[in-house]
Assembly symmetry: C2
Homo-oligomer: 359 residues x 2
C-alpha cells in the first residue's frame, strides 16, 4: 500500500476557549457528545482508505499523552512530535520527508484533525479519486467547498479549466488566503471561488519538489542525510532543525505560489468548526434558534444563542440574544456571538492576569 | 451562667440557588471568601457573650455532618436534630423546652445562622442589654433594623412608647409579617416602623408561657414528662411529636399576637442575605456597580450585576445589565436580578426535570 495519511493535530484552538484549553485543545474534545473526539472521528473516517500503519500524526509534544490515550491503535513511530509550534508548512514538510524515506512512491492525504465532515461516503469517494489523481502525475490537489458566506477566515480557490477525464476536478486559477471582506464578497458573488478545506492530496515526491521550488528555506531545513528519517536519529535531527523553520501555513508557503495546483469540489457536510459561529451553524437549532451543546439548559427569552458546558451541568438563563454561553472547568464565557473574534485577545489577557491555569 | 444562645440552622436557602444547595445550604457556605461559613461567623459572634456549652444549634438532621465538620467545639448534646422541616416556631419551642429543663432560669438569645452582621461591637452591646432587659421581667424582645426600602419579605415592627431606663427599647405597637407592597411603602414613609431582624431575646419561662397562651397547639406538643428533655429519651419524644407540629414562623405564631413584645432598635450593619439583591446591596461595588463575589471576572459593558462563583474560576462576560451570574458545581444561573423571585420556582422545575442532583 502506497497510500498514507498525515493528520495535523498540534493546534491550540484558542478561539474555542474556554472549551478548548492549552492542555486539551479542540481536536481532543468530544464536541458533539458522541463519545469520540474530533481527532478520533478523523482517524475513523480515513481508516477505511488508509490502514493504521500508514497513518502519521503530527502534533506538539505536549499532546503525546492525549494521543496515546485516544488513539492506542496508532504505533509510536507514527506519531511525529514537533518541538515547537510552526504552523502547517514545516509540519507537512517533515511528514512528507518522513514518509518518503519509508516509501518513495507514497501518496499522501493531509487532513486537519478538528473539522466536521457529515457525509462520510462522499468523503471516502473524494479521497479515493484524489489519490488516483495525484498518483498519475505531479499534481497538488485540494478539496474545495462551495462557499455559503463571505467568510474572511478561509482560503479562497478560484477554479480554472476542467481536467479531462476527472469528474469535478479543475485547475486552480488563483489561490487567495484570508481575503478582506470586500474581496470575499466579490469572490462569493462571482460563483468561481471555493473555500479551501485544508484537506490536501499529493505524492510525497510532488510536495517535496514544491517545497524545494517555492519554500526552499523550509525545504532545505528538512533535507537529511540518508538513513536519518525513520531511524532513531530522526528525533535529534528534528530537535535541531525544526525550531529554525519559519512559522507559515502551507497555503502561503506553497498553494498560493505553485502552478500545479488543482481543486476537487466536494459537498461533504463540512465545517472547519473554526469559530463558535461555525459550531452554531453546524449544530441543530431549536425553534428559538438556540443551540444546546451537550448540556441541560432552561432558557427563557433567549434566541440565536449557543449553550455549551459539560453534559452533567444545568444552565438556567434568561434574556440573552445571539450569545455564547460556554462553561468549562475553571472558566465561564458569556459573550456576544458576533464579537467572538475578540476571544483570542481575551485569552491572552486572562493568561497574563490570572495565569496559565485558566487558558 | 444562665445565658443561652439558640442558633437556627436548618434552612434550605433555595432562593440562593445555585450557590445554596439542598445538601449544603447558604448557612454552611463561605459567602464572602473569609474562610468561615455564615454559621461559623454567627457562632464566633456570640461566643464572647455565651460560652460554647450554652450554645444550642437546631438544624435538620440532614446537616449533622456539616455541623460536626464546621463546629467541632459544639458538643453533640447541644445539637438538636429536627426530624422534619416545620419553620421557626416548633424549632424555638423545642429549644426553649430543652434549655428550660437544664436551667429553669435560662435567658435565651435566638439567632438565625445565615445573616450578615458587620458591626460586632454594637451587636455585642445590644445582646448584653437585651439579656438584662428580658431577665428583669416577662418580656419578649426583638432587635429592629431601620428600614431602607419597602421590602415585602420582612416583618415590620411598629414602635410604641419608650421603656423608661432602657436606651432604644420601646414597646411594640404592632407587628406585621410580610406586608404587601402598598403597606410596606406606608410603613417606610411613616418612620415608625422597623424591620424585624429575626434575632430574639427572652427567658425560657416567658417564651414557653407565650407558646401556651398564643400557640397552644405547638406548646402542648412539646410538653414532656419530667426527665425527658436532656435525657436519652428526648430524641424518641421529638421523633414522635415534632412532625405533628404545624409549620409556622415564630412571627405569625407568637410575635404578631403577644402583648409583651418589645423592640430594641439597632444599627448592626445587618443584612439577612435573603436574596441575591440583598447580597448585592451588602457587598462592595466597583465603579460600574458590579459586585464580584469571591471570583475572577473580566466584565465588559456590564453594570449593576453580581458575579459569583468559586474563587478558582474566571468569568469573561460582556453586555449584561442588572444580572445575576452565579456558577456553582453542576449549575449555572444567568438571570435578571429583578426577577430573582422566580428562582424558587425554577429550582422546583430543575428538580422535576433533571433530578435532585442539581438543586
Amino acid at each position: 500500500m502506497n497510500r498514507y495519511c498525515v493528520i495535523m493535530c498540534g493546534g491550540v484552538g484558542s478561539r474555542f476557549w474556554p472549551f478548548s484549553r492549552t492542555d486539551r485543545p479542540k481536536q481532543f474534545l468530544d464536541f458533539f457528545g458522541t463519545g469520540r473526539s474530533l481527532l478520533q472521528l478523523t482517524v475513523e473516517r480515513i481508516s477505511s482508505i488508509v490502514p493504521p500503519e500508514n497513518i502519521v500524526l503530527v502534533t506538539n509534544r505536549l499532546y503525546e499523552p492525549l494521543i496515546r490515550e485516544q488513539l492506542p491503535e496508532i504505533r509510536q513511530e507514527n506519531i511525529l512530535l514537533e518541538p515547537a509550534r510552526r504552523n502547517t508548512a514545516p509540519c507537512i514538510c517533515w511528514a512528507a520527508n518522513h514518509i518518503a524515506a519509508l516509501n518513495p512512491d507514497a501518496a499522501i492525504v493531509t487532513l486537519p484533525s478538528d473539522h466536521l465532515v457529515l457525509k462520510e461516503r462522499e468523503f471516502e469517494a473524494a479521497i479515493l479519486e484524489g489519490f488516483d489523481f495525484v498518483e498519475k502525475d505531479d499534481r497538488l490537489l485540494t478539496l474545495g467547498i462551495n462557499p455559503t458566506n463571505p467568510n474572511t477566515g478561509y482560503g479562497y480557490i478560484q477554479q480554472g479549466t476542467k481536467v479531462k477525464g476527472w469528474q469535478g476536478i479543475r485547475k486552480v486559477k488563483s489561490f487567495t488566503e484570508k481575503p478582506n471582506r470586500e474581496m470575499a464578497e466579490l469572490f462569493l458573488k462571482s460563483g468561481e471561488f471555493f473555500w479551501n478545506s485544508g484537506m490536501f492530496l499529493w505524492s510525497a515526491k510532488s510536495i517535496l519538489k514544491a517545497f524545494d521550488k517555492y519554500a526552499p528555506n523550509i525545504g532545505n531545513l528538512f533535507h537529511a542525510p540518508d538513513g536519518i528519517y525513520g531511524s532513531a536519529e530522526e528525533a535529534a535531527f528534528i530537535e535541531k532543525n525544526f525550531p529554525n523553520a519559519q512559522g507559515i501555513s502551507i497555503d502561503y508557503a506553497i498553494m498560493e505560489k505553485a502552478d500545479n495546483v488543482y481543486v476537487k469540489t466536494v459537498d461533504l457536510g463540512w465545517s472547519d468548526l473554526g469559530t463558535w459561529h461555525a459550531l452554531y451553524e453546524a449544530s441543530p437549532h431549536n425553534s428559538d434558534g438556540n443551540v444546546t451543546q451537550n448540556c441541560k439548559v432552561l432558557p427563557t427569552d433567549c434566541q440565536g444563542s449557543i449553550f455549551a458546558t459539560s453534559s452533567d451541568k444545568v444552565i438556567v438563563v434568561k434574556g440573552l440574544k445571539d450569545y455564547i454561553v460556554a462553561d468549562s472547568e475553571n472558566a465561564l464565557l458569556i459573550y456576544p456571538l458576533e464579537e467572538e473574534q475578540k476571544i483570542r485577545q481575551i485569552v491572552n489577557e486572562i493568561k497574563s492576569r490570572f495565569g496559565d491555569n485558566f487558558v
